[in-house]
Symmetry: C2
DNA sequence: CTGAAAGCGCTAACAC
DNA sequence: GTGTTAGCGCTTTCAG
């Protein structure tokens, strides 16, 4: 356990000088600094984080709050791994570390957050899985803890946020499907209070309006955003009186279950039911037919999220003046094989 | 910022008494304790972690080291989310917190770990994605940091570990497929230095030996443990001279790509190529045909991992004397639809 | 440019 | 049963 004391003794210097040398203060002899740095390296000295935090009043770590079993489904965690990389890139510039704080299923997200911020184990946090009404914003404000969120919420206040363009993709998906001949387009949204549900639905309605199509509650399906949820949705689609010819899925994982259920019914995804899903993922890319979906640059998103956070930290705000307060993150359509034009079908219909 | 000082002032008590009350020490008046606890609750007091750590020399947090882009593939992170829940259950009993430390792609895992342990931000760590030869064990031993690993390694020494029974599942899979009429069984293993590769292969060889089947290097495929890797494997299978009738996959994600490639070739997974994959997952459950795979209790595994760690911490070792030093975690076959008996095929062949 | 000393918030040893 | 005090490792005044 090499502490600064041992290092100082070994160098025959005072701990003050050693500390200043290590922290790159100007008022230290260049030669002395060199000696200190060399010895620190050799002895493998790294400052004790507790001592440092206590003295400085900051921990130099940022917490990403992940909520297990959240509205986004259990499995698309890999979404975060992309974002995290960008986050770390942004934070690294200021030697800030990132830790993930995982709120387990059987713990209340609000009290979990309360505990984490009270402990002052991090200087700032990034919130995910925002609910439409979310108490956590107040908790953080009360604790005076800087934060940004991935996801909008009605409780946002003046907090910084990034969110995917759920309205945009829903709206443009409807238009695209309309252009491909579809007149009856269903949608699948989460069955829980996640803020993205209403947004997606809103875009869907706008898309319908754009195309002069009627809104029909009977083809708005609420389900889990998982494979199983997709299976359930397909089940409902099959049972629908005037069966839709296309469907928008809020999560790509749903397509797996949907494909299976269609297959069980002897139907072919794409041909018998066109599918567009929210996010590009390896699974979607290797489904047959390949999923038409939306791509986004997770790394860039993470970087911007990091920069937003930095712009909220007094120490760094100066360098991040031009970072926006909120951002709707764009997604780009990736053409797959799951939403071919309806032409053939129409021909068949007009024949009958 | 309510500190113990403010709390003490507010209560007209010394900080010593307040501290003892809060920490459940015996020598404090029951009535006083009640007052303290009540006031702490009201003022939302939570001890500052830095102050506490500095004084006690321990942080009461455990770090789970996750390596991004590791040998397990990018996407099956949800594996960890199951394990983490169990881990937290075990650690919670002793009020230990868990933080996830994510080593990003562009950072060296060894130096990342070095930094994390030197900072003393955690009291102990859990290592994952163990390599066959892994420097990190020595780093931890040098730093005198207790640890357990999820995954075996040649560098283990006397460290505690849990690992899935890769030999076992490979071996029994071969036997099962043999029983179902298969005589030419391929295997797909990782193309990187992950310790599970050789283990899986070893079980595969044992299984072949059990059945009196020859080992043929031409049907041992090395690939990424991802959807894409599965696609590549299928490609190679199709190009194989004496085409295998069955295949073992080290990761269930591979099946997605494999299914697709077979589909592209007009072949049906299961019927034209039987598939058994390592781990049960939602994706596999909703593939068509449903994947035959192996199930394990992630939560229980996490709990045991936590208990193993506790048995390595001086403070808690006493309570965990009967926890084993190492454990090969059993998996249970989950019958799917992807490895039906070969009978029909055989009939067809004998007809031709 | 360097050393001495204060003090961040907390717990534990000791005194009463 | 409670108050007082030392000190965990570190950074940052303040002298010199």
């Amino acid at each position: 356990m090499t502490g600064i004391r041992q290092l100082a003794d070994h160098l025959q210097l005072s701990i003050g000088t050693v500390s200043r040398a290590l922290n790159g203060k100007a008022d230290v002899n260049a030669q002395t600094r060199e000696r200190v740095l060399k010895a620190a390296m050799e002895l493998g000295y790294v400052p004790n984080q507790s001592g440092r935090s206590l003295r400085k009043g900051t921990t130099s770590t940022v917490g990403l709050i992940l909520t297990q079993g959240n509205s986004l489904g259990e499995n698309n965690d890999n979404f975060f791994f992309g974002v995290i990389h960008g986050l770390q890139t942004a934070l690294k510039k200021h030697k800030l570390d990132l830790v993930l704080l995982l709120c387990s299923r059987d713990e209340d997200p609000d009290s979990f957050l309360q505990r984490m911020v009270a402990q002052r184990i991090v200087d700032a946090v990034i919130l995910t899985a925002t609910r439409t009404h979310d108490e956590r914003f107040d908790i953080l404000r009360r604790a005076n803890m800087p934060f940004v969120t991935l996801g909008r919420s009605e409780s946002l206040g003046d907090a910084s946020w990034i969110d995917l363009d759920f309205e945009g993709i829903a709206r443009s998906s409807v238009t695209r499907l309309f252009g491909r001949g579809h007149r009856r387009i269903a949608v699948a949204v989460p069955n829980v209070d996640a803020n993205l549900g209403p947004l997606f639905l809103e875009g869907y309605r706008q898309g319908l309006a754009d195309c002069g199509l009627p809104f029909d509650e009977n083809i708005v399906f609420h389900a889990e955003t998982s494979e199983e949820g997709g299976y359930d949705v397909a089940e409902k689609v099959l049972a629908t009186e005037d069966r839709p010819t296309a469907i928008l899925l809020i999560a790509e994982l749903m397509s797996v279950g949907l494909y299976r259920r269609l297959g069980e019914a002897g139907l072919t995804p794409g041909r018998d039911l066109a599918v567009i899903a929210e996010r590009e993922s390896p699974v979607g890319r290797f489904l047959l037919p390949r999923l038409t979906c939306f791509r986004l640059d997770l790394d860039a998103l993470g970087r911007m999220l990091g920069e937003m956070l930095l712009s909220n930290l007094p120490t760094f705000a100066e360098n991040y003046k031009d970072v926006p307060k909120g951002k709707i993150w764009p997604l780009e359509l990736v053409e797959g094989e799951s939403d071919p034009p309806l032409e053939m079908k129409e021909t068949l219909l007009s024949d009958g």
